[in-house]
C-alpha cells in the first residue's frame, strides 16, 4: 500500500507523467493561494470518486458482476463521469456556502473539476489496475489520495515558480502559457529521477 501511495504521488505523477488536468493546472497556477485551494478540492474529489467508482466497477460494471454473463464494461465512461459530475456539484455547493472567498477566486474552475482529466483519469487508471495493484476499497482510497496529492504538489510548486518568474525578463512571446509549459517540462525531467525507485 505504501508502495502504491509513493508510486502514485511521485513516480506516476498525474501531471508530469500523464499530463492529466493540464488545463486548470496552467490556468490556475498564477498564485499559490488559489493553487492550494484548487489542489485541495481536487484531492478531496479524487479520494471520494475513485473508491465510489471502484465499487461501481466491482459490483456493476465488471464481467459477470451484475448477473452471470453480463458485461457492462462499455458503460464505464458514462457511469464514471456521472458519479464525478454529481460529486463535483456537491463540492461546489459546500465551498460556496462555507468558503465564499475561495469560491469567487476559483470561479469557473470549480465546476470544471468535473471535466478535469485528473479525476476521470484517476478512475480509468484505477479500473485498469484492478486485479494487479488495486484489490480492495482500501487500495482504491490510497490510490485516489496519492494521485490527488501528486496533482496538488505539482500545481503548488508550479504556482510558486510562476510567482517568482513575474520578476524575470521572459521573452514577450513566451510570457504566460509558453514559459509555463517549458517549466513543467523541466520539472517533469526532475521527477523522472523517481522512476527507478523500488519499494
Amino acid at each position: 500500500m505504501l508502495n502504491l501511495f509513493i508510486n502514485s504521488v511521485f513516480i506516476e505523477n498525474m501531471v508530469f507523467a500523464y499530463f492529466f488536468g493540464m488545463c486548470s493546472y496552467i490556468a490556475v497556477s498564477k498564485s499559490v493561494k488559489t493553487a492550494l485551494g484548487l489542489g485541495a478540492a481536487v484531492t478531496f474529489v479524487q479520494v471520494m470518486t475513485v473508491p465510489l467508482n471502484y465499487l461501481l466497477n466491482e459490483y456493476v460494471l465488471a464481467p459477470n458482476a451484475l448477473a452471470e454473463g453480463v458485461d457492462l464494461s462499455f458503460l464505464s465512461f458514462i457511469l464514471f463521469i456521472a458519479v464525478i459530475a454529481a460529486f463535483v456539484q456537491l463540492v461546489e455547493m459546500i465551498v460556496e456556502k462555507f468558503a465564499p472567498a475561495l469560491y469567487n477566486q476559483l470561479g469557473i474552475f470549480l465546476p470544471l473539476i468535473a471535466v478535469n482529466c485528473a479525476i476521470m483519469g484517476g478512475s480509468l487508471f484505477m479500473q485498469q489496475m484492478v486485479g494487479t495493484e488495486i484489490n480492495s476499497v482500501g487500495d482504491s482510497i490510497v490510490y485516489g489520495l496519492g494521485s490527488g496529492i501528486g496533482w496538488w504538489l505539482a500545481i503548488v510548486m508550479m504556482a510558486a515558480i510562476r510567482e517568482k518568474i513575474e520578476y524575470s525578463h521572459v521573452p514577450a512571446a513566451m510570457k504566460g502559457p509558453g514559459i509555463a509549459f517549458i517549466i513543467t517540462g523541466l520539472m517533469g525531467m526532475a521527477f523522472m529521477i523517481f522512476s527507478g525507485i523500488q519499494l
Binding site: 490556468a27 465512461f77 482529466c117 514577450a172 509549459f181 517540462g185 525531467m189
Partner: protein, 199 residues
C-alpha cells in the same frame, strides 16, 4: 463568408490548444508516434463536431440548470461509440491510446465549444465550428508527434527516415519533451501574432 471565417479561425489564429490552452490534458501523451496522434485527432474532431451538432439541436429544449449533465451524457455516448469502433477496427492503436480515448469526455475543447458556441448557434454553424476546432487540435497533435517521432525514433508513421547513422534521442519519447515542444510552438506562434502576447 462568416462560415468560412468560423472554419479557418480555430485552425490558426484562435487555435484551441496553443491560444486558448484547452484540451492539453489528453493531447500530449498520445504524441509519441504519428499514428496514434492522427487517430486521436480524428476521434476528437468526430466527437467535437457531433456533440456540437446534437447540443445545438437540443439547445432550446434543455433547461440551463441541467445542461452540464446533458452535455456530459451526449459527449460520453459519442466517446463510447469512438472507443468501441477503435477496439473493433484498430485494436493496436486503441491499445496505445489506452485511457486517453475515455478522456476525450473530459477534453475541455469539446465541452468548451458546446458551452461557448453550440448553445447559441444554429446546428450547421455549430457542426462546422466543431470540425474546425477538432482539426485545430489535431493539427497541433500531429505537429508535436512529427518532431517526437522523427527525432525520438528516426521514423515517420513507422517508416525509417534517418538511416543507421542517426542515434535516436530517447529523451524525445519521454513525457517532458512534449511539454517543451508545445512551449516552443506557442513561442513561435506568439512571435508571429504579436497581439496575443501577454503584457
Amino acid at each position: 463568408m462568416k462560415l468560412s471565417k468560423n472554419f479557418t479561425n480555430p485552425l490558426a489564429a484562435n487555435n484551441p490548444v496553443i491560444v486558448q490552452i484547452l484540451g492539453i490534458c489528453s493531447a500530449l501523451a498520445v504524441t509519441v508516434k504519428l499514428e496514434p496522434a492522427f487517430v486521436m485527432g480524428l476521434s476528437v474532431t468526430f466527437v467535437c463536431a457531433f456533440s456540437n451538432l446534437f447540443m445545438s439541436l437540443l439547445r432550446k429544449g434543455v433547461p440551463s440548470r441541467i445542461r452540464i449533465i446533458v452535455q456530459l451524457v451526449v459527449i460520453a455516448t459519442l466517446v463510447i461509440v469512438v472507443d468501441q469502433f477503435l477496439r473493433a477496427y484498430m485494436y493496436d492503436v486503441s491499445k496505445q491510446l489506452s485511457v486517453y480515448v475515455g478522456l476525450i469526455i473530459t477534453n475541455c475543447i469539446v465541452m468548451g465549444r458546446v458551452e461557448a458556441f453550440a448553445l447559441g448557434n444554429k446546428p450547421w454553424d455549430s457542426f462546422v465550428d466543431g470540425v474546425a476546432n477538432g482539426l485545430g487540435y489535431a493539427f497541433i497533435l500531429v505537429l508535436v508527434a512529427f518532431f517526437r517521432e522523427l527525432f525520438g525514433s528516426g521514423e515517420l508513421f513507422g517508416f525509417e527516415i534517418f538511416g543507421d547513422w542517426y542515434t535516436p534521442n530517447a529523451l524525445m519519447l519521454f513525457p517532458p519533451m512534449a511539454l517543451i515542444i508545445i512551449g516552443c510552438i506557442i513561442w513561435v506562434h506568439r512571435s508571429i501574432n504579436k497581439d496575443l502576447q501577454e503584457k
